[in-house]
């Protein structure tokens, strides 16, 4: 192999890999969001058993490294006899990781809706399902936007961990290019800039949403 320098085509390769980072983030947010939503509902339900189970799940996910979730799903899946592409293990572990944090964020948002909203809607003869659907969740979702967008930034960054099992997203692409060019500083700074370009606008958006929420509620 001839030694290459970090140039235009290498940067193109990084850009391609960035698409996988974004895809992985989207997968994690969709599936992790779905699972996290169910856990958040369980966490705020009236059943003691459900609440305990959800709380345990959240504590568990928040108490172990993302890397361990990744390894366990990677080896767990292959143990179960599945010969699956790394995207699957990466996506599954990112979704599980995201679900534990989103569940906790959304629990807080559901509980931030005043108790009186439950009483008022209950008194209007709404069923529990209708209360959630028409009264509680619309308000909780509004509250949840800033922290959820903020958490998306964490997901984008944490997808870099999947490079450790060989999934070629942005960080892994950086490693590959570094192996060919031996210009680590230049390569990884470029990688960092690309992450920044994705994450910074999201962080700012989260901030703007947060401000707007506070203005809206104090009107």
């Amino acid at each position: 192999m001839t030694l290459r320098t970090f140039g235009f085509s290498e940067f193109g390769f990084l850009l391609q890999a960035l698409q996988w980072t974004v895809l992985l983030t989207v997968i994690a947010l969709i599936f992790g969001g779905a699972l996290g939503f169910v856990v958040a509902l369980a966490r705020t339900s009236r059943s003691n058993a459900l609440r305990l189970a959800a709380a345990t799940y959240i504590q568990l996910i928040q108490g172990i490294p993302v890397l361990m979730i990744l390894f366990l799903s990677y080896y767990g899946l292959s143990l179960a006899g599945f010969e699956l592409p790394p995207l699957f293990a990466a996506g599954a572990s990112m979704a599980i990781y995201a679900s534990g944090y989103l569940a906790e964020i959304w629990r807080g948002c559901i509980q931030a809706v005043p108790k009186q909203q439950w009483e008022a809607s209950e008194s209007l003869a709404l069923s529990p399902l209708q209360q959630y659907r028409y009264v509680i969740l619309p308000q909780a979702i509004r509250i949840s936007l800033p922290p959820t967008v903020g958490f998306a930034v964490q997901v984008v960054k944490n997808t870099s961990v999947t490079s450790i099992i060989g999934f070629v997203e942005l960080a892994r692409a950086g490693t590959l290019i570094n192996n060919a060019t031996f210009q680590p500083f230049r390569v990884f700074v470029a990688v960092a800039i690309l992450y920044f370009v994705v994450c910074y606008p999201l962080s700012q958006l989260s901030r703007v949403l947060e401000k707007r929420l506070h203005v809206g509620s104090s009107r």
Partner: protein
Amino acid sequence: MSEVVVENVHKSFGALEVLKGVSLTVGRGEVFALIGRSGSGKSTLLRCMNGLEKINSGRIEIAGHVLGGDAKALRSLRTDVGIVFQSYNLFPHLSVGENIMLAPRIVKGVPRAEALGIAREVLQLVGLSEKIDAYPDQLSGGQQQRVAIARSLAMRPKVMLFDEVTSALDPELTEEVLLVMERLARDGMTMILVTHEMGFARRVATQTIFMHKGTIWEAGPSGPLFADPRTPELRQFVKADVK
């Protein structure tokens, strides 16, 4: 014909007994005022009447429903019993019109056009027709409370419960809410209200119940009850209010 029958109701929060055997009967079209010091159990009694609090023993029948059935029976009861709270509790993400139309539409399945008609009608009743597209945070406290009343009325309740609905309002805003309630009473609505507005109770309520220490201490037609309290507790309570 009685619309509300409360028989020997007991209610405790933990070790604290809040209602110690309360009984009363409200006839159709009557207006009952529940008065008493805070902690006397009057709000709890009201909240028991639509199942927001579960009673420990006794029996409550309201608008033809007996409390204590399953969730479905309770919802059915609540379509016939409206309640208005001290803190309005409008749904902040919905406009005034949507607040009012929500329950008729999704609980009773009323078509949109018809629900809109109901909303216009009840808003006119509380004098807020022009606010149908406003959001709760654009309204004054008095206006919000009138919308809350309209929202309850849209379910066509047979009984209306009012839980200190003017306690959070300035005097001038209190007046506009009381006017709406007085009009409802004149139109023949069966009403039970927990209130600190003695003048209103005296003028509008057919009966006034003075609660003290979890029991009905003194009860009777409002006029005589206020004019000539029999118990020292009520005498002192009424006197304190005049000051």
